[in-house]
């Protein structure tokens, strides 16, 4: 079947052409990985000169992991995340990681990275949509185990009718797990956030897992501008003995949790222990706030502060809102925008402050349940007289047209729901 093709075309056993980006030869790249030098997080984040490149979100994540001094990555394929961990696999081939393998399935993968984290190394995994749901039982046990690690969540539809497009309803399940959750807006964020996530995750007073979520395909598979520092520098390694919970080795038993599981003793002491344990997780989330401010420039970003109408959004909804703000600006209207970078811990105080002048707050979302609108409403309860409009929303991974946000800006929600035609802008 390949007779029309030139002989150097490589095929797999099924006869499909093998293409994509081949892993560069380990020999020539190995030295490059070994020659990386450790710099301070401050230098890597803020001081190192940056070059502008036009790359996909998955490639941006790869560039982050290249500089993150990661010890082990454990993967399991699921669209649209597969490409991200495939890129990390190339890094392993180039010598940037000490170990990399494919787990059995998500439950196993989430358990395995937990083991790696407890052993004291810097661990990475990524998943998407249904894979996140499958791994969720284990993921909810990470914070209690006080395991610093990084989970990249590439959002996709989880509910039937099933699709592979970027709907982010899955994040609502993650919000109450105790895991720190950042939501990346674009390719640049998907480079910056993972690096910062590791540093925050491993602070002694934090010692929690961090998830960096991003909306699939439209960020991971599309190109955007990303400013990158040189690739010959990397973060300091994990200092596992400086964390809140000692690592598992032959001398130190692990966190008491796994030695004397409190669930097996139904008495007052065990209930109290469980309560204090959970309180400590959420207190640790709060203690992450100063580090998020230091490394990420705050839990939120505000565009046009003080505007009467504010849009509050996270992830891709921010990009769409920026365009709506730009178009409204062309008409002479100033619309404010709050980008929420950190979903957990949630920026309650920042949001109250940013919405102090607002008369109307619009919450565009890429999911059907409106989890962000609920977050915003509970954060602002009793703090604002503004009308909080829970929408617009798109479902099943559809992109949100800017026109839809503009409808909500220029019409009341009821009118917006009744109309069938887009507003001409």
């Amino acid at each position: 079947m390949a007779e029309g093709l030139q002989t150097e075309v490589k095929t797999n056993p099924q006869g499909d052409v093998i293409t994509a980006t081949e892993a560069p030869k380990a020999k020539e790249k190995e030295n490059k990985a070994a020659k990386q030098r450790v710099v301070t997080p401050e230098y890597l984040f803020f001081e190192a000169p940056r070059t502008k490149t036009f790359i996909t979100g998955s490639e941006a994540a790869k560039e982050a992991i290249r500089r993150a001094n990661v010890d082990i990555a454990i993967s399991y394929p699921i669209t649209p995340q597969s490409e991200t961990m495939q890129q990390v696999g190339y890094l392993y081939a180039e010598g940037y990681l000490k170990d990399y393998y494919r787990g059995e399935e998500e439950y196993g993968v989430m358990s395995a990275v937990a083991g790696a984290s407890r052993a004291g190394v810097r661990a990475l995994t990524a998943t998407a949509g249904p894979g996140l749901m499958r791994g969720m039982e284990v993921i909810t046990s990470w914070p209690g185990g006080r395991m610093p690690l990084l989970l990249l969540v590439v959002c996709r539809v989880i509910n039937a009718p099933l699709a592979i497009q970027p709907d982010n309803v899955e994040l609502s399940y993650l919000l109450n797990s105790g895991v720190i959750v950042f939501h990346a807006e674009n390719q640049q964020d998907f480079y910056d956030f993972p690096l910062k996530a590791y540093m925050i995750s491993e602070k002694c007073e934090v010692t929690l897992p961090v998830a960096v979520a991003v909306d699939g395909f439209f960020v991971t598979h599309a190109r955007g501008w990303v400013e990158l520092p040189p690739d010959d520098i990397k973060l300091p390694p994990r200092e596992c003995y400086h964390e809140a919970v000692p690592m598992m080795d032959n001398e130190n038993p692990p966190a008491r949790l796994s030695r004397d599981a409190p669930i097996q003793k139904s008495n007052f002491i065990s209930y109290q222990m469980h309560a204090s344990w959970q309180q400590e997780i959420w207190a640790a989330q709060d203690r992450a706030r100063p580090w998020i401010k230091k490394y990420m420039g705050g839990l939120i970003e505000v565009v046009n502060p003080g505007a009467e109408t504010m849009i509050v959004a996270s992830g891709s909804a921010v990009s769409q809102s920026r365009e709506a703000v730009r178009q409204a600006g062309e008409k002479g209207d100033t619309i404010g925008l709050v980008k929420i970078r950190s979903l957990r811990p949630f920026p309650t105080q920042e949001l109250i402050e940013a919405c102090r002048h607002a008369k109307r707050i619009i919450v565009p979302e890429f999911n059907c349940v409106g989890w962000m609108a609920k977050e915003v409403r509970s954060a602002l309860f009793g703090q604002t007289k503004a009308e909080i409009v829970p929408g617009p929303r798109v479902f099943g991974g559809m992109s949100m047209p800017t026109e839809l946000i503009l409808e909500y800006l220029y019409k009341t929600p009821n009118e917006a729901r009744m109309t069938t035609k887009p507003l001409t802008v």
Partner: protein
């Protein structure tokens, strides 16, 4: 400042995604901004393919599919006649006074409802014989995508021809261009057909220029002049 949202629809093997890359990269070379999102199911010849391209002289914030395009490019009449498209009808979401560029030697017999809706949208419908131009100029219909890129560049004025030429060069001489399995094997066939990459690039550029000239000759680049003729075509 110019700003266009373009939806390209065609069928597998025509190079719709390649055209969008060439177009998008051309705009970036010209100093503008551009993003693109390809959209297709399993990669195979004759299956529906869409690609969404945003081009602008200013910042682009939006991501994802383009639901309300200003410009729609139809690379194959089967998109319309056989419904080979993810977006039905082919003009759905087209903004008022938007442009529809169709690869066809003669105007299509549209359903009365479709013709009426296009009229109501004041759509400017242009028929470009892209495959014919490709066959005449490059000796193969495989360059249809280049003709479409050349024509749309003339209509919207982005990118300029020099930047588009540079983009075609980069596409084939490549700097780490990531292609899919299907595209890679097709590239191989094309390269063999032309013998040399230099010749391949030259032929592709000739097609781009021919289609660009065709559009300019028909005054499609001056949208006010073109309007009357286009409305007549849409109203058939």
């Amino acid at each position: 400042m110019k700003r266009y949202n373009i939806r390209m629809a065609g069928i597998g093997g025509q190079g719709v995604v390649t055209a969008s890359h060439v177009m998008s990269n051309g705009v970036i070379i010209a100093g503008g901004e551009s993003t693109l999102v390809p959209f297709f199911g399993s990669e195979k010849r004759m299956a529906p393919v869409e690609s969404y391209v945003r081009v602008a002289e200013g910042r682009i914030f939006e991501i994802g599919e383009i639901i309300y395009p200003n410009v729609i490019m139809i690379f194959h009449t089967q998109v319309i006649t056989h419904g080979k498209s993810y977006t039905m009808p082919f003009y759905s979401g087209l903004k008022d006074e938007g442009v529809v560029l169709i690869n066809s030697e003669k105007p299509l017999e549209l359903e009365p409802d479709q013709a009426r809706e296009l009229r109501e949208k004041k759509a400017k419908v242009f028929y470009i014989p892209a495959s014919k131009l490709a066959a005449e100029v490059a000796g193969t219909e495989l360059a249809t995508n280049m003709a479409m890129a050349g024509a749309v560049a003339a209509v919207i004025g982005l990118p300029d021809l020099i930047s588009l030429e540079q983009s075609v060069k980069e596409r084939f001489l490549g700097k780490g261009f990531v292609v899919s399995g299907g595209t890679a094997s097709l590239d191989n066939v094309i390269e063999k057909k032309f013998g040399k990459k230099v010749e391949l690039i030259q032929k592709n550029m000739d097609v781009v220029k021919a289609a660009h000239k065709y559009a300019v000759d028909h005054k499609w680049n001056d949208l006010s002049v073109a309007e009357t003729a286009a409305l007549a075509a849409a109203g058939r």
